[in-house]
Every structure is written in structure tokens, then in C-alpha cells.
Subunit: 387 residues, 2 copies
């Protein structure tokens, strides 16, 4: 890759996450680049769509290398689906595309009947291909099964009190009495597993997977306590079967507890955004840059917990490049903290008081317009008479 070492025009790096429900990271980066060129036609824009281990992880990495490989797996409802993993000195799997909200069968299936079978299916096929370095992006799951589905797909067996097999779904785990982990794929012992996540929650309790992330998956009311108790018992039995303690590992509560099951398999946890920034060579991309623009759907205090824009901004600061945040919305309460990180200002794409529906529907238009405005100001400030 040639680096723009001494350009006569501003070199701008565009490294946003996605606007969920409206623009994926690549589309948003395209909009920002179009806006910048409208105001600074000579600017050199380098697009580096980001992700944080959730949806878009494979896309972000694939733009900079590696090869996509198709696999047949089960979706969250257990129906067969085709998915893609990225092969690049090992493999990268994306939970969001396998056990996320996208698959048609899943959408009619309640959360109590969803599981992470598909992750186990994918890992097993990669092991069959001789892959021994597998990273799993944990964000964007629709499941709350504690990773039981993945463990079953990799050879674990779940039984009720009568010795009958139970399905690895939250509803199935209600009857769980015993786990036999002896059938777990022995190749896992010699495999380097990495979980990409920005979530550091434990499996259970008030900060656990069910309490914090369950409601957005459809776990409501009394079910929250029930499913949390189901996962706690599953954890006790799984920890007994493997001889490992994992429920309180930071990240065990990621992806509906898939983090817990991965921790049982000896998985190393890494920041999704940090890993992606490193793999796409963000440090090199920033060499010689005059400006970095990042963004995400909603920016608030959580942004500073290692979300992609935060990670990108820390890289930029080290490189001496100012960072502007362009998001769907900026939490005004969090702005003072955000301002500490985004030294090039924090902005929303909104052209005025608009509804969320309008902002989602017009996100590409608004993002392009706002990026153009920011670029106009950037260019005007540089051209203005010196202080």
C-alpha cells in the first residue's frame, strides 16, 4: 500500500462505525467522502470503515485484505443458512451474521428458542480445514443461551433429569440437569481462540447478559429473572463439567452469554475495535493525515468504553491528527466527556429538529450534507488569515 507521504492537498482519513438500521460503515464512509469532496475537491480521502466486533466486522477487515469463505451453518432459529467468514492468517467469524437478527427464520422465533448452534457449526468446519486461529466477533447476537448452542455443536451434550437430551435454548435449558463435556472437539485444545468484544459484563446478575442485553432481544418482565437463573444453573453445570470457572470473566456476558462459553474454551478476549484498528493498519493510514472523521449511530458515555470512534480517536491523537465525530445523535449530557476525546468537535447529521424516522430514512443525505459543511469549515479555517 502506498502511503500519501507529502501531498500538496489535505489527506483525510474516514473511519466511521455504522449507523445501525440505516447505513453500514462502508456506506457511511462513502457519504462522508462525497461530502468532503463537494467542499474540498482536491482532498485525498482514505476510507477505513470500522467495526467493534459486531455487525460489519468482516466487511471492515475484508476491505484491507483476506478472502471471504462461504459456510453452511444454522441460524439462531436452527434453520440452515449460508454465511461468510474471513480467511486471513486464520479465520474471523461474525456472531451478528450467524446468530444475529438478519435471518428470516429467526424473526418468527422467540428468544427462548434461539441458540448459537451456528457458531459451533462454523468453528467445527474451520477446524476441519486445519484452521487453528479463530477470532469471533461477539456483537449483534439475538440469542441469550449462554453459548450452550455453540458448545453442543462442538460436541457437548445436555441432559435433563431423566437422561433425555435438552435443546441448548433458554427454554430447553429450563430442564437441564447434567452436562457431558467429554465429547467437546479435542482440536479446540490446540486452537487459538479470540473473542472480539467491547462488552465486559459478567454472565449473570444485575450486570449480566440477561439483565442488560436481554430486553433488546425480547426478554421481558419476569423472564429476565427466570432466564438469568437458567443461565446461572447452566454455568454451574458447565463449569463443573469442564473444571473451569468462567462466569465472571469480563466479557462472559457478551452475545447473550456466548462469551461465557468461549471463555470455557480458553478464549482470549480482545477489544473488537482495537483489534480491527490494528488489523486494518489504522496507524499507517494516519501517517501524513490532516484530519480524521469518525462516527456512529448514537454517541454517548458508552462511546468512551472502547467503541470504534473512541479507539479511532486514540490512534489519531497518537498520530497528531485531529478527530471529528459525526454521529446520528450526540448525547448532550455526554458532550463534555466526548469533547475530551474528539478534539475536532462532535456533530450530529441532523439538519434541525427531525424525527428519528426521518433521520434514519435520510441518513445518507444528511451525513453527506453535514460532512460537506464540516469540510467547508475545515478548508475555510486553513485558508483564513493567520492569527
Amino acid at each position: 500500500m502506498t502511503l500519501p507521504a507529502r501531498l500538496a492537498v489535505p489527506y483525510v482519513v474516514i473511519a466511521p462505525d455504522s449507523f445501525k438500521s440505516s447505513l453500514d460503515a462502508a456506506a457511511l464512509a462513502d457519504c462522508i467522502a462525497e461530502g468532503i469532496r463537494r467542499a474540498m475537491p482536491d482532498a485525498v480521502c482514505r476510507l477505513a470503515p470500522m467495526a467493534d466486533g459486531g455487525e460489519g466486522t468482516i466487511d471492515a477487515l475484508a476491505a484491507h485484505g483476506g478472502k471471504r469463505r462461504a459456510l453452511q451453518v444454522r441460524d439462531a432459529a436452527g434453520a440452515p443458512m449460508r454465511t461468510e467468514v474471513l480467511m486471513d492468517n486464520g479465520a474471523v467469524i461474525e456472531t451478528a451474521t450467524i446468530a444475529g437478527y438478519g435471518a428470516a427464520a429467526m424473526q418468527a422465533t422467540p428468544v427462548g428458542q434461539r441458540a448459537t448452534w451456528g457458531l459451533g457449526d462454523a468453528i467445527r468446519q474451520l477446524l476441519d480445514s486445519g484452521i487453528r486461529d479463530i477470532a469471533v466477533g461477539l456483537g449483534g447476537s439475538s440469542t441469550n443461551d449462554g453459548g450452550a448452542g455453540m458448545l453442543v455443536a462442538l460436541g457437548a451434550r445436555l441432559y435433563d433429569a431423566h437422561g433425555a437430551k435438552v435443546p441448548p435454548t433458554p427454554d430447553g435449558l429450563r430442564a437441564l440437569a447434567r452436562i457431558d463435556a467429554s465429547g467437546l472437539d479435542s482440536r479446540l485444545a490446540s486452537t487459538r481462540l479470540t473473542a472480539l468484544s467491547d462488552v465486559r459484563n459478567p454472565l449473570c446478575g444485575t450486570r449480566g447478559a440477561t439483565a442488560v442485553f436481554g430486553p433488546q432481544k425480547g426478554v421481558t418482565g419476569d423472564e429476565i429473572a427466570q432466564y438469568d437463573a437458567i443461565l446461572a444453573r447452566f454455568a454451574t453445570l458447565a463449569e463443573a463439567a469442564t473444571g473451569l470457572a468462567a462466569r465472571d470473566v469480563p466479557g462472559a456476558g457478551a452475545a447473550g452469554g456466548l462469551g461465557f462459553a468461549m471463555a470455557l474454551l480458553g478464549t482470549r478476549f480482545a477489544s473488537g475495535a482495537e483489534t480491527i484498528a490494528a488489523r486494518i493498519g489504522l496507524e499507517q493510514l494516519l501517517e501524513g493525515a490532516a484530519w480524521l472523521i469518525t462516527g456512529e449511530g448514537r454517541s454517548d458515555a458508552q462511546t468512551l468504553d472502547g467503541k470504534a470512534p473512541y479507539v479511532v480517536a486514540t490512534y489519531a491523537r497518537l498520530a497528531g491528527v485531529p478527530t471529528t465525530l459525526l454521529s446520528g445523535s450526540i448525547d448532550p449530557q455526554a458532550l463534555p466527556a466526548l469533547d475530551e476525546v474528539f478534539d475536532g468537535g462532535c456533530f450530529s447529521i441532523a439538519p434541525g429538529p427531525v424525527t428519528l424516522a426521518d433521520a434514519l430514512a435520510c441518513a445518507a443525505w444528511y451525513a453527506t450534507d453535514r460532512a460537506a459543511g464540516l469540510a467547508r469549515l475545515f478548508a475555510a479555517a486553513r485558508a483564513a488569515r493567520p492569527a
Copy 2:
């Protein structure tokens, strides 16, 4: 006034109009200055709140010279009220404060019973004081009387078919049969009258005062045609009585037809924003400036019809100073045209999808935050590595 000739820090001119219903121009300028200082503590900010002949005209002018003088006049409902005019090589009267929406008595009085008596009251008292140079800001009226109230207060008499006096309100004018202009104050002939307005509409017809501005004053449905016809007959009789034609003068339709009555008195029409920019010395203020920020409640295609931000931007362009527009909302459809004028970008204060009520309630907060973000980007762009 000392000009900041060779400052070692950026010199920024802040010259917004008001955000109607939330922040007057001075308060908005304060917010912007606070935001700028948050990001650029050393910046020198010069505040030049603007107006366009409507509400805030006297405040904008008074910040740069002249003296306020209290007068007793009638409000739009005919109730006595105290108002202020500005004395500064002549006098400046503001229609918005005399026949606007502010006075308590007016608010219970329908538009059919409102009139511009108070303008005549003020002019007469200024004439009594020997003033022979009077400017009237026409914006922000709540009346639709064709200026009949002002003419009556200055000595004109209105009669019905039986020779009885009729009130100079739209409902009173229904019975109008004859106008006697012989009693008009003779001192007006030797007085220089100036109307400050950005409205170039005629008195009557589809582009007239009633059709275009009546609805926002409460003229609805069939009343629009009725009141338009009433003003047309009033104009015919008034023109006959004075021997002057004025109904099609550009601006005759301003302030519910007050422009028409002023035109009958030999008034010269001038752009409100242009006049204010000239009187506050905007050209001198811009000398040595690195950046100008302006703004208004809503920016759309009408902004380019001589509204304050447009006028301010034309001054800045001549001075070689980039202009950023910070408004309550930016019409996305008008952005391409706005971008031609505001070379430092067009931005809304909105931090994301918000309701109009929220934007109005939090306008000061949001405006300060956005100004800080813009200043951060401005400073970052200047400090960024050169192209």
C-alpha cells in the same frame, strides 16, 4: 472603538439574528461566544447581534450607539403601553414592539380589531420633539390594517357612508366610505421617513399582505379574501385622498400593509439588515477577522432574500472572512443555494433527532455546544499539518 489590528489570537465576529421564540440575537451571540471560548480560550470575540427591521432592531442598533427614549403609545389593541425608541441622529421605531405580539391586551384581541395606532402615536411625539429623521422597522407586526391606524393617529379621518367615524381596524374598514387626509400632520412633509424591511410584497392580491402574512396573524379561510378586498378599497380611497399611488410599491405589503401607508407618506424603503449592518459598522468590525459566525431560527431559500445572515455573509465575503451559519434548522432542500453564500458551512444546533419543543427549550445549551464544536474544528484545522 479600537480595532484588533494585529492580534496573535484568532479574532472572531459573531453576528447572528435571533432564534425566534427562544433566543434573542444578543443571547444567541453570547451563547456562540461562550462556545467559542470553551474551545479557543484565547480567541477574541466581537459580538454584533443583528436584526432585519423586525424584533431586535433597536437592541441591535443600541449596542453600538444612540440612546433609548421611552414613549407612551397605543398597542395593537388600542391599549396604552410604554415603548422605547432609539435616538441616534434621528430616531428608530420598531413595529414589533409597538404593534407586535408582545402586549398583553393584544393577545385577547382578534386581528380584525387590531391596528397600528401606536406607530402614529410614536411618530407624532417624535415630530413634537423636533425629530425630522425617523426610521421604522417594519417586521414582526400582528396587524393587517394597511397602516390605517397610523394614518388616523397622524391626523387622517375615516368615515362610513353616513359620515360617522369608523375605527382603522380591518373590521372597522368594512364600512369605510371616505377618507379625509387634510388633517395629516403637516410636519411629515419635511420629515425624512425610512422603512426598514426585507419584504417586497405589494399591498393586495395573491402576493399581498393578507394572503402571504395574514394566516400567521390569525386571518383564516374566507377572511383572507375579505380582508384583502377591505385593504384594496381602503387603498383606493387613501390613494384618492392623497393623490398618490402606493399599493404596488415593493414593501407596501410589509407589516400588514403598514408599508403602504408609509409609502403614502413619502417613505423611502431600505433593507433592514443592510441598514443595520451599515449602522453598526459591520465592515469595520470585520477588519482583521479570521472567522464570522451568523445564524437565525430557520434557514431556507428565503434566507437569501436579504435576511440578516445573508447580508452579514456578503459583508464577510468582501472582507475575505469565511462565514459559518449556525441555525435552529437548515432546510436540506435549500442547502446547495445556502452553501454558495456560507463558505464556512451551514449547521443546525440540533444534537440529533429532537422535537421542535426540545430544540426551543434547550436552544441556549445546544447553540453553545455546537459553537464549541465548530470552534474546535476551526482551531484543529488551523493547527493541523499543512497540506
